[in-house]
């Protein structure tokens, strides 16, 4: 898997909750394409229409707070977002993103200084974020231990198959 990303920034504030990432009225489906069509619609109606594959979401503090719905990171991944960078993540959202193979990095400085439309390069494993507008490179805490293993496996489902020695060919 490739853990290097280049993308354009969509910038949001503090406490972006999972109810605005994907409102509960859409939780009667688990289909990533349907969920992606409504991603962020209660705070940014343009996002789902204009997001491009590889774009990067930058949030403030406590990104993904509220409900445990995995539909939230699924809708963001389904929209083609390559990576989320935030000052901090709510803990359930953090686990969910790692578990479904949606790359995320916590870097208060990079998150605060990024602006909408900035072009960022991200090296997930090294925890390096480069902002090409201001030329600065930021160092987020790199992952280690089981979290890194889940990321490298592509998520908790393939990780579990690996550790339990289950081979599924499809």
């Amino acid at each position: 898997m490739d853990f290097n990303f280049d993308g354009t920034v969509w910038k949001y504030g503090d406490n972006v909750d999972t109810d605005v990432i994907i409102p509960a009225r859409y939780l009667n489906t688990t289909d990533p394409v349907t969920l992606a069509a409504h991603c962020m619609e209660d705070i940014d109606q343009l996002f789902a229409q204009e997001v491009s594959a590889g774009d990067i979401i930058v949030g403030g503090r406590n990104f993904g707070c509220g409900s445990s719905r995995e539909h939230a990171p699924i809708s963001i991944k389904g929209a083609g977002v390559s990576c989320i960078i935030a000052e901090s993540f709510a803990r359930i959202f953090f686990r969910n993103a790692i578990n479904i193979g949606l790359p995320i990095l916590e870097s208060p400085e990079a998150a605060r200084e990024a602006q909408k439309g900035d072009h960022l390069s991200v090296d997930l494993i090294a925890g390096k974020i480069t902002n090409h507008r201001n030329g600065k490179t930021y160092q987020a805490s790199p992952y280690n231990g089981m979290v890194l293993q889940i990321i490298e496996a592509g998520g908790l489902v393939p990780y579990t198959r690996n550790v339990l020695g289950i081979n599924i060919t499809n």
Partner: protein, 422 residues
């Protein structure tokens, strides 16, 4: 070195450690694994994709249709069907059929399925509720739940703990709901991020189990991983009447290490209101504009218990008033057991005669699912737990979170109101 409740219970469930401290990353055994119709749908997909075949223990997986149940549309029906068929195929011992169960966070404690000293993971953020009976319990997403269903294990970072001490005697119309709203208002929606919250002090000891459950329920609204009420006579009496397996009470050590200690004197506290659009936008009711209410919702995993409905019944009986005809009043018992108890107490008739719509148990309106979705610019006074933008319906609807007495007075007056005004 003393230990917190989170450290003690996690250590007792840790795979390779006799003792753990805040910051340690550990693999733990789970006692109960829970999911609802919304989260089980994905958990079952992930479980099947893991290729494991059978759940680790058919007695300890609890799949509860609650959010869109009774099924609100065909897609919801398909999700509940996935949950039902999985429960049947895996021969799960505990079933939670519509009409017999209700909201997971009301049903599991009420049936004694979560007990002191348990380690519980649930596919719902309000799984933190079970800390009221002394369980370490935390919300997770669906794929984490799938892993726990498959292996009976999960990984955790041992949280730091914040201690909250409540002293004084609350005035009439001030409840556990007000204590937790005030606390969230004080520390903010990420004030306890990743941490455990221990609630202590004389004002806590005096709280009945229903109000303790209300408080631990909203730990997630401060970002908390888990919350705990002390194990005491209230807990013992509640649990002894329900438990069908052994349990182990734990007690925090006096010299445990706390991230911070917060003290509240509740004596002069007014009923608290969380204003739009955040559970930490909390003000005493005297400082909140008496907004006209379009809907009042009394129910949810926060305030849908028998004692919550007793507050509504008491106000209606004592004042002889009925609800304002301009307000949609939704009263939804948190479980069918609560519904039946309310029926036997004569309250279903009382509420209906007063003008409320009383429904079968569901999470329904709390998450804008069904049974009371809000239109744009509508105002709802709600006993639930979240008032984020779009939470209960249209993004421009406004939700004010309050205790059941405030909700009842507001439903009677047709605007945000204090029971003293009646």
């Amino acid at each position: 070195m003393g230990k917190t409740l989170a450290e003690k219970i996690i250590a007792a469930h840790a795979e390779d450690a006799a003792e753990v401290s805040a910051g340690d990353l550990v693999t733990v055994h789970t006692d109960v694994v829970m999911a609802n119709d919304v989260t089980a749908a994905i958990a079952i997909e992930s479980f099947n994709a893991m290729g494991v075949g059978e759940v680790y223990n058919k007695d300890r997986i609890m799949l509860v249709p609650s959010h869109f149940a009774p099924n609100k549309d065909i897609k919801s029906a398909e999700q509940t069907r996935t949950l039902t068929m999985f429960s049947q195929d895996q021969a799960l011992s505990n079933r939670f059929q519509v009409g017999r169960a209700g909201i997971e966070h009301v049903v599991l404690p009420e049936r004694g399925l979560v007990l002191p000293g348990d380690l519980v993971v649930g596919g719902d953020s309000h799984t933190c509720t079970y800390g009221a009976v002394g369980a370490f319990s935390t919300g997770m997403g669906s794929t984490d739940i799938a892993f726990a269903m498959a292996t009976g294990k999960t990984w955790l970072k041992v949280p730091e703990t914040m201690k909250f001490v409540y002293t004084g005697t609350p005035k009439q119309w001030v409840y556990g709901k007000d204590l937790i709203l005030r606390t969230i208002g004080e520390i903010s929606v990420d004030g306890a991020l990743y941490r455990s919250m221990e609630f202590t002090g004389p004002a806590i000891n005096a709280l009945p189990m229903s109000e303790r459950l209300t408080m631990t329920n909203m730990v997630i609204e401060a970002g908390g991983k888990c919350g705990f009420m002390p194990f005491d006579d209230v807990t013992r009496e509640y649990v002894e009447a329900r438990a069908t397996r052994p349990y182990t009470p734990y007690f925090a050590d006096d010299d445990a290490t706390y991230y911070s200690v917060h003290e509240f004197d509740v004596s002069d506290m007014e009923p608290q209101i969380a204003c739009p659009y955040s559970p930490d936008n909390v003000h005493p009711i005297s400082q909140v504009k008496p907004e006209k209410a379009d809907q009042v919702f009394i129910g949810s995993c926060t305030n849908g218990r028998y004692e919550d409905l007793a507050i509504v019944a008491d106000i209606l009986q004592k004042t002889g008033r009925e609800f304002n005809p301009d307000v949609r009043v939704m009263i939804i018992p948190g479980s069918q057991a609560v519904y039946l108890a309310a029926l036997r107490a004569g309250w279903i008739e009382l509420f209906t005669m007063a003008g409320a719509a009383v429904s079968v148990s569901t999470c329904g309106p709390c998450l804008g699912g069904h049974m009371g979705v809000l239109a744009s610019e509508e105002v709802c006074i709600s006993t639930s737990n979240r008032n984020f933008r779009g939470r209960m319906g249209h993004r421009d609807a406004r939700v004010f979170l309050a205790n059941p007495a405030i909700a009842t007075a507001s439903a009677i007056m047709g605007r945000l109101a204090h029971p003293d005004e009646l």
